[in-house]
Assembly symmetry: C2
Homo-oligomer: 200 residues x 2
């Protein structure tokens, strides 16, 4: 004995969301349909409207529903700094850290030679174009410290410095996380923090 097709389809669709398993999908579907129909309607409309209106920003690859995203169109940001990240979520974390007020460029993923994904596949040609901006002085490589993220930073950095030797290329710092105790930090991170020590 199973649920009606409409309810089953709702449960199946909810399972597509990352982090939502079969049990949670079922619970959410019943909650929406018994007590929160206006929420269900709101989310349904929000999804369809976003799919229809949101596209990639032609300048930075970010998401926007205007010609340029708010980060590229703002007149209050510093044109001399460009921060390169792997995806929109990474950009938003940096933004929330309030530590950067320049422009962003979002790669279309990470280099992964084993899967045949090289610089061209992640939008390097567009980055080369973007980096021709005469106002630009510093490019910050802010990919993750995973093997792929490191490989991406290395490759992008190499290619950029060959083409634009005048640019100041930097990489975000690797070290002990804020608030962490040395005792409980993995030795690899401690070793990197020691090697990257700075004059105080």
């Amino acid at each position: 004995m199973s649920q009606s097709g409409v309810i089953q389809e709702l449960i199946e669709s909810l399972k597509l969301l990352s982090g939502i398993g079969p049990k949670a999908a079922q619970r959410i579907a019943y909650q929406l349909l018994t007590n929160n129909r206006s929420d269900a309607m709101r989310l349904g409309n929000a999804l369809l409207s976003a799919v229809e209106n949101v596209h990639r920003c032609p300048r930075c690859n970010g998401l926007t529903d205007s010609d340029l995203c708010s980060f590229c169109s703002s007149t209050k940001r510093d044109d001399s700094e460009l921060c390169i990240v792997e995806n929109v979520a990474d950009m938003m974390v940096i933004e929330q850290s309030l530590s950067f007020n320049g422009r962003y460029f979002i790669l279309m993923g990470r280099i992964s030679p084993l899967n045949g994904i090289g610089p061209h596949e992640i939008g390097f040609d567009k980055l080369l174009e973007r980096a021709a901006d005469p106002a630009l002085k510093e490019v910050i490589l802010a990919t993750s410290f995973t093997p792929e993220g490191e490989a991406t930073a290395l490759a992008i950095g190499d290619l950029l410095s060959k083409r634009y030797p005048h640019l100041n290329l930097t990489r975000i710092a690797k070290g002990i996380p804020a608030g962490a105790e040395l005792e409980y930090t993995d030795v690899n991170t401690v070793a990197q923090a020691m090697l990257n020590r700075r004059v105080k």
Copy 2:
């Protein structure tokens, strides 16, 4: 500097789903918009279609997009047994346990005297009507073993037995969960299992 309104509205709507916090909502929104637009469209349509087509079954209070739900309209289920549950999710758990093949009746919540919620507020009058079915022989009280669930079973049981003294009223068993070790089971549950012991 914030995201565009359309993306922000999508994130806010995702946060309405139970179990999804601000961070997960943001991650899901970006994933849907960068790599999974067809998933977003499918979920959006599923939500709107469910809100439009799904209503409560007039016989059992379940959810359905037909006149009667599949549990009430099936000819393969036993009309002599009626299982009373608190909500649709509870009904589905019993259904998945493959331990019951009768009919269901879903209460509109649980009795909570402190909040002014008594038998009438959770649909007892409809249950009285439903229980008048001459084929009915046994009513199984399958509300949860929380204080409110117990109070609900007690009140519903009392009222039903007064009105229909011929009905066999039963309550699902309280005891040690399947697969549990006695050593790690709370003493209250162990005491109840001891008191409710059966002849083997």
